[in-house]
C-alpha cells in the first residue's frame, strides 16, 4: 500500500534559524514524484518543492531544500533562514505513475520572532 508518514505533528523554529521536517513514504513503484506543500491559515495549498524520484540530485528552491534518500524512502525538507511567513502546515506527498496522490498527516510549523 502507498503510504506517507510525517512523524512530527508540530515543530518550532527561531526566526533566521534552520529547521528540518521529516517525511517517509512507502511505494512499490519505481517511478514517482514527491512534493512538499505549504498550507497557511487560508487553507490554500502552495507548492514548496518537487522531486522526481529518478533524479538523484536533491531539489532546491531558494531557502528550501530536500534530502532525498531513495533507498531509505525518506524525503525531508530543510528550511534555512526561517521567516515568520514560513509558519504554516506542511504536507509531504507522493504521486505515482498510476495517478494516486497520497499526503502525509502534516507538520504544523511555528516560527518564533
Amino acid at each position: 500500500a502507498q503510504t506517507v508518514t510525517q512523524s512530527q505533528p508540530e515543530m518550532s523554529v527561531q526566526e533566521a534559524e534552520t529547521v528540518t521536517l521529516s517525511c517517509t513514504y512507502d511505494t512499490s513503484e519505481s517511478d514517482y514524484y514527491l512534493f512538499w506543500y505549504k498550507q497557511p491559515p487560508s487553507r490554500q495549498m502552495i507548492l514548496v518543492i518537487r522531486q522526481e524520484a529518478y533524479k538523484q540530485q536533491n531539489a532546491t528552491e531558494n531557502r528550501f531544500s530536500v534530502n532525498f534518500q531513495k533507498a531509505a524512502k525518506s524525503f525531508s525538507l530543510k528550511i534555512s533562514d526561517s521567516q515568520l511567513g514560513d509558519a504554516a502546515m506542511y504536507f509531504c506527498a507522493d504521486l505515482t505513475r498510476g495517478g494516486k496522490l497520497i499526503f502525509g498527516q502534516g507538520t504544523e510549523l511555528s516560527v518564533k520572532p
Binding site: Q6, P9, Y32, Y33, F35, R43, Q44, M45, L47, R50, E52, F91, A93, L95, T96, R97, G98, G99, K100, L101, I102, F103, G104, Q105, G106
Partner: protein
C-alpha cells in the same frame, strides 16, 4: 485566474441528506482527486479519477461515491450524510501522472447536523 473551482465553500446539511460537492477545472487535466482534511489526520484520499467515467477508490471511500461524466467536472456524493462526515473537502487536479503542478480548489466546509 481561478483554475480549480469548488462551487460550495460552506454547507450545512442534515443527517441522512444526499450531498453533492462539485469540482470543476479549466485546464483539461486527466487526473482529479477528492480529499477530506481533518486535524491530525492530514489529507486523506477519498477517490480519484484518471479519465472520464474512470474512478479509483482512495484510502477512505466508505460512505462516498463519485461521478465524472465530463473531463472538467468531478463530483463527490455523500449518499446519506452522517455527522462523522463533517469535514473540509478539498479537490485537486493534475495533467497526468508526470508530476506536473497539482492545482487545488479552495475547499468546501461541510457540517452535518
Amino acid at each position: 485566474d481561478v483554475k480549480v473551482t469548488q462551487s460550495s465553500r460552506y454547507l450545512v446539511k442534515r443527517t441522512g441528506e444526499k450531498v453533492f460537492l462539485e469540482c470543476v477545472q479549466d485546464m483539461d487535466h486527466e487526473n482529479m482527486f477528492w480529499y477530506r482534511q481533518d486535524p491530525g489526520l492530514g489529507l486523506r484520499l477519498i477517490y480519484f479519477s484518471y479519465d472520464v467515467k474512470m474512478k479509483e477508490k482512495g484510502d477512505i471511500p466508505e460512505g462516498y461515491s463519485v461521478s465524472r461524466e465530463k473531463k472538467e467536472r468531478f463530483s463527490l456524493i455523500l449518499e446519506s450524510a452522517s455527522t462523522n462526515q463533517t469535514s473540509m473537502y478539498l479537490c485537486a487536479s493534475t495533467e497526468t501522472s508526470t508530476g506536473n503542478t497539482i492545482y487545488f480548489g479552495e475547499g468546501s466546509w461541510l457540517t452535518v447536523v
